[in-house]
Symmetry: C2
Subunit: 212 residues, 2 copies
């Protein structure tokens, strides 16, 4: 691990490779080539090899990779050899959808609490997870040793929520509000913009339809 | 427009640049350098120039880019010089959250209908948009000239929904269900995996904490 300069696109592909490795592992496959991974996920074999090469030598030339070993390596690279307690702020539709989302638990993310300032929601359970008032944030974060918070509130409340998350000691924030947040440098932030995904589709559609 | 081989990371950055250009345009700025764009969005100036160079020459050396012209060019590249009618399938929490999401309308995406097979939801309006039964899909898609569909249903219903969307003539699908779909080659698909965003955070947290 010499460098931090790993392109984000590589991290995203590692995440995709590891989902594919889970699938083939469940089918009982024990060895896999970069070509097979490439075909399974729709990238070039050279890309797979290049991505994995960032993290040292896996696999044996002409034999391929041991599926379980490679999967274990990738999960460790991604930091998924732990279970990560996560808190969500905002018990509206988005927060509830995220709370129900099976894809988190599958990858080792465990929602340990949802926070809202609506007294009608507090005390309810969503998918077995309690809705807490904002005033309980620091207590729950400490008790559950959470490091990651998800912001699922309207834009105009997002900065205040971010301040609460930072104040409670969280070290990483996933922000779904379409607004840029002021966050201290020692806290990781990732902004999710739902429209970007549609824009990649319209870019591709535009090319197909022969844009001028 | 010679080539289709534009890296997806470039498209995503164009999308980010154009959001930033909207902001500076609203502040009344008329000219901007690649360095200023770079600083505003947190990438290197060389990256900005490289991304824009894919699409020909904009701007004047030493003067910079005209903000409105550059914005118009980028929106055209992204296919956002049109308004895009979009349909959503699934009127649960995720579909409802997407329907309420202000970021779509801002970028020219207009939700024209939500579909669900729950008779209790049909006929209701979410954010002013009607919930239709699945049987109305082809009619609504044709009437609204929609090309893009969003799948916001549970995994086990996703393939059937995808078939309906393709059958109704849609040309692009954004899939939120954590499942790989069989889709004809002439339909663009993009799978959104919410957990990937968390994995990029845990990757970065892992490095900071000194992974072995």
């Amino acid at each position: 691990m010499k460098t931090l300069k790993i392109p984000e696109a590589t991290i995203i592909r590692l995440s995709v490779y590891s989902r594919y490795l889970s699938q083939v592992d469940r089918r009982g496959v024990t060895t896999i080539s970069s070509g097979e991974i490439a075909e399974g996920v729709g990238v070039s074999p050279a890309q797979v090899r290049k991505d994995l090469a960032y993290f040292g030598e896996f696999g044996t030339r002409g034999v391929g990779y041991n599926v379980k070993d490679l999967q274990r390596h990738i999960l460790k690279i991604l930091g998924l050899n732990y279970s990560w307690p996560v808190v969500i702020v905002g018990a509206g539709h988005l927060g509830t959808a995220l709370c129900m989302y099976g894809g988190f638990r599958e990858r080792g993310f465990r929602v340990v609490g949802i926070f809202d300032n609506d007294p009608h929601k507090i005390g309810y359970k969503l998918n077995g997870i309690e809705v807490f008032p904002m005033s309980e944030m620091a207590r729950v974060v400490e008790q559950e040793r959470a490091l990651i918070g998800i912001i699922a509130v309207p834009s105009d409340a997002a900065q205040e929520v971010a301040n609460s998350l930072v104040g409670a000691g969280l070290k990483a924030i996933l922000n779904f509000a379409p607004r840029v947040l002021n966050i201290p440098d020692d806290v990781e932030v990732r902004n999710v913009d739902m429209a970007v995904n549609l824009e990649i589709l319209t870019f591709n559609l535009g090319f197909k339809r022969g844009r001028e």
